[in-house]
């Protein structure tokens, strides 16, 4: 049994057997001098970021975590590049709050954009120091030195050489570096010049991901696989709506479950702990609980929800752009367009439900977690248990892909409460209905759009208002168990974003805003909400791009040509659109273009977006069965510009996954609920895309060496629903206004189509 509790110092002494998969590196005994105080290391110390072992292996410490998106490999590439060390010699030690510096939660596709430069600068600072040491050792000026594979030599005299390992292997750098700002905004070693991208040899290559091999063999240790000696198993028992109290608990209902250790109740939190996982499952299932049934004023269906969204005052308005006077321009316009679009609650839908292991002893806690933000989990557990943050250590292990869901680590809190109650390590895993029912969902949205066109066919007015529920679960609010024991969030939540409402187009009069409608009151609510991959933007892009496509059709202009008229000032946007047009062999068309009355109508549609500095455009090819409204997405062609590409195949993998998830969300996904709670509690009632329905994919990566690398974890999922909706319009004339594009809805839209 390997211990999971090595400290940073112990790790460096003992080698990284666990975290550093399949590699051991020799003891770094000189780290004995390191402070033994637990807690986050000092960001101004180079040693906090990078360590060189005696065999030349380099360890990079980061609070960013691998979520299956490939950043472990990409960050290793960045460090290897700056240091001129082979990638195989780089270890990345991720997400341990006692060993890494808080670089912000891994979310928003921001790791490569923000943590990338931090690691690049730390590596460049390390290289600079190594060259300084080598210069002394070799008696040659630093500018005459070259580095290859971690060995420094004198240019023109290769026999004069010294390795990184010989210089600092197993020792501390003891170098102070500049560290300004916090989290993702932290700027490191600003005085050190990194390599010019033109010199890159490792960055920019499709290097095989380091996390892939053990995941194919069962050798990878996910958080679900963490086993601590003496560990018990827990399950939670949730009410149908939060925040409900158990009115009565019939403990005799589980007296026959063998191995049951304890029924744990704290406030409204209820769970069971047992010696075996099966016993915990049985006990949680069998426990007879009568919950109070407070009156909910929850919208019980979509119509009520729409009324709720449009009749409640927003707590904040997120302004994306306001230019000119859209209302006045609308008044003068020759043609006016109006439309309302709707988006349902959707799931992150982790295949593996929430799981965590906690060991709470006195006023100290160790949490093994698959969360996206180890420091965020540390803060929430500290608040929950009322113990100091530095007494909580969070150790990251990979979990099931989370797409934003594990920004909010409910499982860790559950495990912590249960462990404290029994005084032993407890592993908690949510059952499927817990995850479907209680994961904080992507919020429902509604958009109202108005546009106006003048006599010359120019779009002169554009008004886009998004009415969205916020993230009721976010960094400044409370998690589920905290709510249940009576801790209250002080704010209504965080906004669901405001990109994707048409702001990329240079219309003379344009307003794009998002109104955030509070969803905290009246409690209790059964539908928690949070950030779901590219938050809110699929919905906004669907609405804005669909209306734009319909305007193009009405004006008799090709939809790509129409867009390019308003993208003259944004070359990257225009390039992305032209790239997808070329790759998809787009032919100029007036839409709807399908004139036959064949049983299967074929169409293609286009949509694009900008998100966090990246650009993407998609063309969807669909077939619609006229009689049933069933939509088959046959092919998605997509162009993608996320600046300089660190790992092309890694980005491609992300883009492919983003597309497939986008198709799934467009065609199938909708959380169902009534006044009593969520009713889609498994994969039958909340289906996602299955293998036979996955389209062909054709991807163009636009690699921009002159633009700093950006993330690829969100961007390309955004235009997919809009492109599919447009293709359905092209095929049938049906104007879809709501996701998902279920056969019944598509059929109704086809029937509502008036013959031209």
């Amino acid at each position: 049994m390997k211990t999971f509790e090595l400290s940073r110092r112990e790790l460096l002494k003992a080698g990284g057997a666990l975290i550093v998969s399949f590699k051991l590196f020799p003891a770094l005994d000189l780290f004995a001098a390191e402070s033994q105080t637990a807690g986050m290391p000092d960001p101004t110390q180079l040693d906090s970021w990078i360590a060189v072992a005696q065999d030349g292996t380099v360890t990079v410490f980061t609070s960013k975590v691998e979520l299956g998106t490939g950043i472990k490999t990409a960050l290793a590439q960045i460090a290897a590049e700056e240091l001129d060390v082979p990638l195989a010699k780089i270890n990345v030690d991720m997400g341990d709050t006692d060993k890494t510096i808080d670089q912000a939660t891994t979310s928003g596709s921001r790791t490569i954009e923000r943590a990338g430069p931090q690691i690049r600068q730390a590596a460049a600072a390390a290289r600079k120091e190594l060259l300084r040491l080598a210069s002394q050792r070799l008696g040659a000026p630093a500018e005459n030195l070259t580095v290859k594979d971690g060995v420094v030599s004198v240019a023109g005299n290769p026999s004069k050489r010294v390795s990184y390992a010989q210089l600092v292997g197993g020792k501390r750098f003891n170098v102070t570096i500049d560290a300004e700002g916090r989290l993702g905004e932290m700027k490191l070693a600003r005085d050190v010049k990194p390599k010019d991208p033109s010199e890159y040899q490792t960055v920019g290559k499709s290097i095989a991901r380091v996390d892939v091999p053990p995941k194919t063999t069962g050798e990878a240790v996910y958080v679900h696989d963490v086993r601590i000696p003496g560990m018990l198993h827990g399950r939670v028992v949730r009410p149908p709506v939060v925040n409900t109290a158990p009115a009565s608990i019939d403990e005799s209902s589980v007296k026959d479950v063998p191995g049951l250790v304890k029924i744990v109740r704290e406030g409204n939190f209820l769970g069971v702990v047992a010696k075996t996982e099966w016993a915990a499952i049985q006990a949680a299932e069998a426990l007879k609980v009568t919950w109070n049934k407070p009156e909910t004023k929850l919208p019980a269906n979509r119509e009520d929800l729409d009324n709720y969204l449009t009749s409640n005052k927003s707590f904040t308005t997120l302004k994306q752009v306001e230019k000119g006077d859209p209302a006045a321009a609308l008044g003068k316009a020759t043609k006016r367009y109006e439309a309302v679009f709707r988006w349902p609650f959707q799931l992150h839908g982790m295949i593996g439900p929430s799981c965590a292991v906690a060991d709470v002893r006195g006023n100290k806690a160790t949490i093994w977690s698959g969360c996206q933000g180890p420091f965020r989990t540390r803060a929430s557990v500290s608040g929950l248990l009322k113990i100091p943050e530095e007494n909580v250590r969070v150790i990251y292990h990979e979990a099931s892909g989370s797409y934003g869901r594990l920004s909010n680590d409910d499982g860790a809190e559950d495990a912590a409460l249960l462990s404290r109650a029994v005084g032993a390590p407890v592993r908690v895993q949510w059952m499927r209905q817990d995850e479907h029912g209680w994961e904080p969902k992507g919020p429902a949205q509604l958009q109202k759009l108005r546009a106006g066109v003048d006599a010359e066919g120019k779009i002169v007015a554009w008004e886009f208002i998004d009415y969205s529920l916020p993230w009721t679960v976010a960094s400044a609010t409370t998690l589920l168990a905290s709510e249940q024991i009576g801790l209250k969030a002080k704010i209504p939540g965080q906004g669901n974003g405001n990109q994707g409402g048409g702001e990329i187009y240079a219309f003379d009069n344009i307003k794009v805003v998002a109104e955030e409608i509070p969803w905290m009151k009246p409690e209790p609510i059964p539908l928690r909400t949070s950030n779901l991959r590219a938050p809110g933007q699929l919905s906004r892009c669907f609405a804005s791009e669909m209306l734009l496509n319909e305007i193009a059709a009405d004006l008799g202009v090709d939809p790509i040509e129409l867009r390019l008229r308003y993208l003259a000032a944004d070359k990257r946007a225009a390039d992305a659109l032209k790239a997808v047009a070329e790759k998809s062999q787009w032919q100029k068309r007036r839409q709807p273009s399908e004139n036959s009355s064949a049983a299967i109508a074929k169409g293609r549609g286009v949509a694009m977006t900008r998100r966090a500095g990246g650009y993407t455009a998609a063309v969807a090819d669909v077939e619609v069965e006229r009689a049933t409204g069933k939509v088959a997405v046959k092919r998605i062609t997509l162009s993608h510009d996320c600046g300089l590409v660190v790992n092309p195949d890694g980005v491609k993998n992300q883009v492919e996954g983003n597309i497939v998830q986008g198709v799934s969300r467009a065609l199938l996904e909708e959380v169902t609920f009534d006044a009593n709670g969520v009713t889609s509690l498994d994969w039958e009632t909340y289906p996602i895309l299955r293998f036979p329905d996955v389209p062909e994919l054709d991807i163009v990566l636009i690699d921009r060496r002159d633009v700093a690398p950006l993330g690829a974890g969100e961007l390309s999922t955004v235009p997919i629903p809009a492109a599919i909706a447009h293709a359905i319009f092209d095929a049938t004339g049906a104007r879809l206004r709501e996701v998902p594009f279920a056969p019944k809805r598509v059929l109704a839209a086809i029937k509502a189509t008036k013959p031209a």
Binding site: T217, I351, Q429, R432, F691
Partner: protein, 154 residues
């Protein structure tokens, strides 16, 4: 509780368990295997798939009492990073996963498919894997990996 004698990855194991315990929990917690994963407990997602008596089965709904002497193979039983099975090697070469949580199920279902049909068509592969859910969306890579493992042109 009762004693059950199982044959897992070629080795005999005796476990003490409630007869109703799904095989998944026995494999994970008693045999200490990490390949099969809990996804739904409802036979809806395939993350728990193992091969029993030559067939891909959902271990989350297979009571341990029904296993008997039937040989059980898990992901670990196919190969290791050092010595991967051709399917595992193909998944590595095609980089056919992201988070990898579902991949156990895809590889085990593909193993059962290739054992029965060594040169499946694309449509047959998609159909055989239709019961496995992947949320990261790596299907096109998985398709290539299975074709590669079957010695067909990718």
């Amino acid at each position: 509780m009762a004693k059950f004698s199982l044959k897992v990855n070629g080795k005999s194991r005796v476990v003490d368990a409630d007869p109703a315990t799904p095989l998944l929990y026995v494999l994970r917690n008693d045999v200490k295997l990490n390949g099969p994963k809990f996804g739904c407990g409802l036979a809806q997602c395939g993350a728990c798939t193992v091969i029993m008596d030559g067939k891909a089965v959902r271990s989350c709904v297979t009571p341990v009492s029904t296993v008997g002497g039937k040989p059980v193979t898990t992901l670990e039983g196919l190969g290791s990073v050092k010595k991967p099975h051709p399917l595992q090697k193909a998944f590595m070469e095609e980089q056919a996963l992201q988070c990898g949580y579902c991949i156990n199920g895809f590889i085990m279902s593909a193993k059962a498919l290739l054992d029965a049909n060594p040169k499946p068509t694309d449509a047959q592969i998609k159909e055989a894997l239709a019961g496995n859910l992947c949320r990261c969306g790596t299907h096109t890579r998985i398709l290539r990996a299975v074709k590669r493992a079957s010695g067909q042109k990718v």
